[in-house]
């Protein structure tokens, strides 16, 4: 039997078909400084150039033997395309992700250009996907979008949005409905580009910020609409506290759930059963960057698998400045310890 390619392994996992071992990939950013150095470029430059963006993702995936990759690496591209600007921090020391400097401060002022998907860096991201589809046919190429609520918080001031949830509920409902349509349009656009899976990152909606009741009325219906519209493998990712909303997350209809280290995966399994795909749930910075003993990294990864994930995903973007030994241990442990079946996916 020939070995499965990374793409085959990932797609079979999403289909809950038997595979040889657990795939090792992420729907969050997985670009590392070692790859960026190998390319002879800088972190600040890989967000603004299709060749460098695709190259950084692909070099990282090849360097660490990952089964898939995603672009872009920052959350500011859509807001930038909607006219909110971007801070790229090209002159700053170290690694700083792009941010949105000019968010709308008033619901009434929001004016989203109809053609935003052709503005700013959006075409660069499209070009990066084209490069990756051509250069990495053996890897699963993933797209990600922010969920409607989180994207709303990227284009308008978050405190105004949060207070609006209580004070201007009808207006916020309508605004989130519009953001949902935009999220769906983007997912369909990336589907059209031939990506293999889409992760919808509604990361700002965990119960660190919102009540379960608010999640049920304001987040769940919109995410359900989004996942109803996606026809390729999809992931519902939320970082932060998710234990109180995990059943509702499951009801949204994504093919898989992705959670971070705050989620109790053992309890989640008892709540939503063994048939659901769960991805997660280690702390990327606390594991890959700060641990000085790589055997501890192995323990973290093994615990994720023992707790019942179907693929070990970082809870957030992998912080690029990983320790080489830790990244190697992460991948090796998934490959070796992930040979046994996971709750939702059997082995060949």
């Amino acid at each position: 039997m020939t070995e499965l390619t990374g793409k085959e392994r990932v797609l079979k996992m999403f289909n809950k078909e038997a595979i040889d071992r657990m795939p090792c990939f992420s729907g969050q950013g997985a670009v590392t400084v070692q790859a960026i150095e190998k390319m002879g470029t800088q972190f600040a430059k890989i967000h603004n150039d299709a060749e460098l963006m695709a190259g950084a993702a692909l070099t990282s995936a090849r360097m660490w033997n990952l089964d898939g990759l995603v672009v872009p690496f920052d959350m500011a591209a859509v807001a930038e395309a909607m006219g909110r600007g971007v801070s790229l921090y090209d002159g700053a020391d170290g690694i700083i992700y792009p941010t949105v400097p000019n968010k709308w401060k008033d619901l009434d002022a929001i004016d989203i250009p109809a053609d935003f998907m052709s503005k700013g860096r959006m075409p660069i991201i499209d070009d990066a996907f084209a490069i990756l589809k051509k250069e990495a046919p053996d890897l699963a190429v993933g797209a990600w979008v922010l969920g409607p609520f989180t994207q709303a918080g990227q284009i308008m001031e978050l405190d105004i949005l949060l207070k609006g949830l209580k004070k201007k509920k009808d207006q916020i409902d309508a605004f989130l409905g519009r953001m949902t349509e935009i999220t769906i349009d983007m997912c369909k656009h990336y589907e059209g580009l031939g990506v293999d899976f889409i992760s919808v990152r509604e990361m700002g909606s965990g119960t660190d910020l919102l009540s379960p009741r608010m999640w049920k009325t304001l987040i769940q219906p919109n995410l359900t609409r989004v996942f109803d519209a996606i026809s390729i493998p999809s992931v519902n990712h939320i970082c932060g506290s998710t234990d109180m909303i995990i059943e509702m997350m499951h009801e949204c209809g994504a093919d898989a759930l992705s959670v971070d280290q705050k989620n109790n995966v053992v309890e989640t399994r008892t709540k939503i059963g063994n048939d659901a795909l769960i991805l997660g749930n280690f702390d990327p910075y606390g594991t890959l960057t700060t641990l000085e003993d790589s055997s501890e990294v192995a323990n973290v990864i093994k615990k994720c698998i023992d707790d019942g994930v179907d693929a070990v995903w970082p809870g957030c973007d992998i912080w690029p400045d990983v320790r080489k030994e830790n990244m190697e241990t992460f991948v090796a442990t998934v490959r070796e310890y992930g040979v046994k079946p996971s709750p939702a996916v059997k082995r060949i």
Partner: protein
């Protein structure tokens, strides 16, 4: 005519129910009744006491961040009325704090909740805002000689800048207390960076900040040394 207890209860309720107009009205009653209570009584036993109750509601998952933000708005509405009438002798010597969200971070909810705690306490607050270049923290701290430097980072990707600031400030001003806050932080990371205090998230900032308010009230009443 309202009693002292009734006025304080109105302030508390206005904060808890996030009613800004009611809070302003109750604060004016404080000013209209100087024989019953001082503006500082209104701040500590009305507004701050209300916020303590908000903290309990937050801890018991009855309130979440949206409610707390609205309670904070109500508190500030009352504080804006009372603060101009608080004399320095009433609050004792004024301590000062420099605070902001570090460069690369445009989130400031946690920072603003911590700021509220300092505002209630009557500190001199130098708020640098968000996405603040690292050198600006150092410059402002050294220029003001503040007692505390408080930095917030909501994302893993920005918290590393804090370490550099701490090293630069501690080198020149070792007595300055440094507080860190933000979702990605752990106590271990804060210790590793050389910080003196830590709160892990906006939520935790609410709990921690409100506990500090509670301690402040006890201190002002002479209940703790």
């Amino acid at each position: 005519m309202a009693t002292k207890e009734e006025i304080l209860e109105e302030l508390k309720e206005a904060v808890i129910e996030y009613e800004e107009d009611d809070c302003v009205e109750a604060a004016r009653k404080v000013l209209d009744n100087p024989d019953l209570l001082t503006p500082m009584d209104g701040v500590l036993d009305g507004l701050a006491a209300g916020m303590e109750k908000v903290g309990e509601l937050f801890d018991s998952h009855e309130y979440f961040v949206p409610e707390v933000l609205m309670c904070a708005d109500a508190l500030y509405a009352g504080l804006d009325v009372l603060r101009p009438h608080i004399t320095l002798t009433e609050t004792g010597p004024r301590a000062s704090v420099v605070l902001g969200s570090v460069q690369g971070d445009v989130h400031d909810i946690g920072k603003n909740l911590v700021k509220m705690m300092f505002d209630i306490a009557g500190w001199e607050v130098h708020d640098l805002g968000r996405d603040v270049p690292l050198e600006d923290f150092v410059e402002k701290q050294l220029a003001t000689g503040s007692d505390v430097l408080a930095m917030s980072a909501m994302m893993t990707t920005t918290m590393l800048g804090m370490k550099k600031v701490i090293a630069m400030v501690k080198e020149k001003n070792p007595d300055c207390l440094i507080m860190l806050g933000g979702a990605p932080l752990t106590r271990d990371v804060a210790n590793l960076f050389g910080a003196d205090g830590y709160a892990e998230s906006a939520g935790n900032a609410v709990s921690e900040g409100i506990k500090m308010i509670g301690n402040l009230r006890k201190f002002e009443k002479g209940e703790v040394e």
